[in-house]
């Protein structure tokens, strides 16, 4: 919204009314499908579409009885946890180097690190595949892990970098003058002070990995499914109510994860 105050004139009032209607329409457009998916997940009907016939939890039950779905869940969770952990470790180190040290080619590395952010995922997907072919390496879980790490790395780097830039170097300098060496200073001073950004970066990376589909389709070994690719595969046959239930679970996880993160960061900040 603009900084200008609502004008008392007629056209002004009309403009504001229009803006309000448009905003509401946009929100409906964005959130209605999500609401529909969640509602239908509790529908007792077999059709997986409106009208709702009754309330039921059976589709969730079916979900957990379906081994291939449970398997996809496990893959997704492990992939999200490991790739975001890797991205966080590498990202924190990269951010530290970029902010606190000066070295040759710093600008280049900075651009290079944010490249996955700008590149279309399809291009990333194909590029990594071709690279692996060049190395004659088969597709595997490791490739998926590598790919997801690369995809989420820029987010961690940017978040931690922003925090480090805002953090005066005099805290670290004070620690050095008091007798702590670089490593001790990092763990005693720097790390606690940038931890909100690290937690945020980790959760962001985990969420990105958890619901990535485009690049994952290129990189996954046939037979391995993550939750999004599993849904995609199931959709090819039919829209079943199980898909609605699975979608509902996905939505809850991807919304809950950042919320928990935000809460933790705030708790953390308050304890100071």
């Amino acid at each position: 919204m603009t900084a200008a105050a609502p004008s008392p004139t007629r056209e002004g009032a009309f403009g504001w009314a229009l803006l309000r209607v448009c905003s509401i329409a946009v929100y409906i457009f964005m959130f209605a499908p999500i609401v529909v998916v969640i509602l239908l997940a509790f529908n007792s009907s077999r059709s997986g579409a409106f009208p709702m016939e009754g309330f039921s939890l059976q589709w969730f039950g079916k979900l957990f009885a379906n081994d291939s779905i449970v398997e996809a869940f496990k893959t997704s969770l492990i992939l999200a946890a490991t790739s975001s952990a890797l991205a966080t470790i590498i990202g924190v180190m990269a951010a530290l180097a970029l902010v606190r040290y000066s070295f040759r080619g710093k600008e280049g590395i900075q651009t290079f690190l944010s490249l996955p952010l700008l590149m279309p995922e399809v291009v990333m997907g194909v590029a990594l595949l071709m690279f692996l072919k060049f190395l004659s390496m088969p597709r595997s879980f490791a490739v998926l892990l590598l790919g997801h790490t690369v995809l989420s790395l820029p987010y961690v780097v940017l978040l931690v970098q922003a925090r480090l830039v805002g953090l005066r170097s005099s805290y670290e300098e004070a620690a050095w003058t008091l007798g702590a060496n670089r490593i001790q200073t990092f763990f005693e001073v720097t790390l606690p002070l940038i931890s909100p950004a690290i937690v945020g970066g980790f959760l962001f990376a985990a969420t990105l990995s958890f619901d990535n589909i485009t690049a994952t389709l290129f990189w996954k070994k046939p037979g391995i499914e993550t939750v999004p690719t599993k849904i995609f595969a199931m959709l090819r046959t039919s829209v079943s109510p199980e898909i609605n239930a699975l979608g509902a679970v996905m939505i809850v996880i991807t919304i809950l994860l950042p919320l928990i993160g935000g809460y933790m960061v705030r708790r953390f900040a308050k304890a100071r």
Binding site: R168, S170, A174, T177, A180, N181
Partner: protein, 355 residues
């Protein structure tokens, strides 16, 4: 014995910036030395090189007679107080003050004793369990001082520690820091661009300009005997009068101003010859306005061109007969003078310096 010695220390930054230009400095043991100068003159850079936070591009730094150029910061045993306090926000006051002791292998019980003693020294007992944000600016700066002193540093380094405080608190902390330093006997290097702080606190004032040392000496010496136009200007209100030497007899020099009026100067530090063009420096507060005057003072006539009323004193801009502008600082007795008033300025010879 020197606590800190700088030998031709210089610091060049990328882009041809010469922050510190071949500085020589001896800091005597137990002395309070101030680096004073305008913004960008290289004070902070000099201090940071002593601390090890910046590496000199030339020269040698010695602490207690030992070369430390290659000694990493954390092994130098220096206490540093930063402008923004730099207390660790995620640690309690106790943990902040104890930080340096932990890395010196001090036992737990001993740490508690020494932290308490340090907090007593800065007159803030009992705040151990609080966090830095729960203290006022002045209190935080006291804790920063305690944290730097508790490790019994060889040298205490302070980079404008008072500039973040408000005016009243600044004066209070000024005398407190000085008192603590005197009591403990620790050598201190203090950086400031505030001449009041420098004059009030120091045993030795080092005036810096453009990466070089302009002059060093006891506060009174630097103030009373500025050896360059820069120092005269930077410390207090100085007047510069272009003049021609007319006579030299013994320690007494007589100079003529533009309109021919004569001014007696007693400056043994300079040898001049008749006919030489010189600059005479007189401090504003040394010029007496229409006073009975000392019998040996020169008297110059002028007209007041501007008045700055300051309460108990007033600052007058006076235009002399020859067109020179002079600033004087005078105590107000019975009402301030007005613009346009004719005045007599008495200047004693011993208050004039020749540059």
């Amino acid at each position: 014995m020197s606590s800190v010695e700088l030998k031709a220390v210089e610091k060049h930054f990328a882009g041809g910036i010469i922050a510190v230009d071949a500085i020589d400095l001896d800091v005597p043991d137990g002395a309070f030395v101030t680096l004073l100068g305008p913004s960008g003159c290289g004070k902070t850079t000099t201090l940071r090189m002593v601390a090890g936070l910046e590496h000199p591009t030339g020269g040698e730094i010695l602490i207690k007679g030992k070369r430390v150029n290659e000694t990493p910061i954390h092994q130098r045993n220096l206490g540093m107080v930063f402008q923004n306090y730099a207390l660790f926000p995620h640690k309690s006051i106790f943990d902040n003050v104890a930080f340096g002791l932990k890395y010196r292998g001090v036992g737990k019980a001993d740490i508690a004793v020494r932290v308490r003693r340090a907090l007593d020294i800065v007159r803030l007992p009992g705040v151990e369990q609080r966090f830095p944000t729960q203290l006022s600016g002045g209190q935080q700066q006291r804790i920063a001082l305690a944290r730097a002193l508790v490790i019994e540093p060889d040298v205490l380094l302070l980079d404008e520690p008072l500039s973040a405080l408000d005016a009243n608190l600044r004066e209070e902390m000024r005398s407190e820091i000085k008192a603590i330093q005197r009591r403990i006997g620790v050598t201190a290097i203090f950086v400031t661009h505030d001449q009041g702080e420098a004059l009030a606190m120091s045993d030795l004032v080092v005036v810096m300009n453009k990466g070089k040392i302009e002059q060093r000496g006891a506060p009174a010496e630097v103030y009373e005997h500025p050896r360059s136009e820069f120092v005269a200007n930077f410390l207090g209100n100085a007047n510069f009068l272009p003049a021609t030497v007319v006579a030299v007899a013994g320690g007494g020099i007589s100079v003529a101003l533009a309109d021919g009026s004569q001014l007696a100067v007693a400056d043994a530090a300079r040898t001049v010859q008749a006919g030489e063009k010189v600059n005479v420096v007189v401090r504003a507060e040394k010029i007496e306005l229409d006073g009975g005057g000392l019998s040996h003072a020169s008297v110059l006539k002028g007209t007041i061109s501007a008045v700055d009323y300051l309460g108990s004193t007033a600052r007058y801009d006076v235009t002399l007969a020859g067109g020179e502008k002079v600033t004087t600082l005078a105590t107000i007795r019975d009402g301030a003078r007005r613009v346009g008033d004719q005045v007599n300025l008495s200047i004693a010879p011993e208050h004039c310096r020749i540059l």
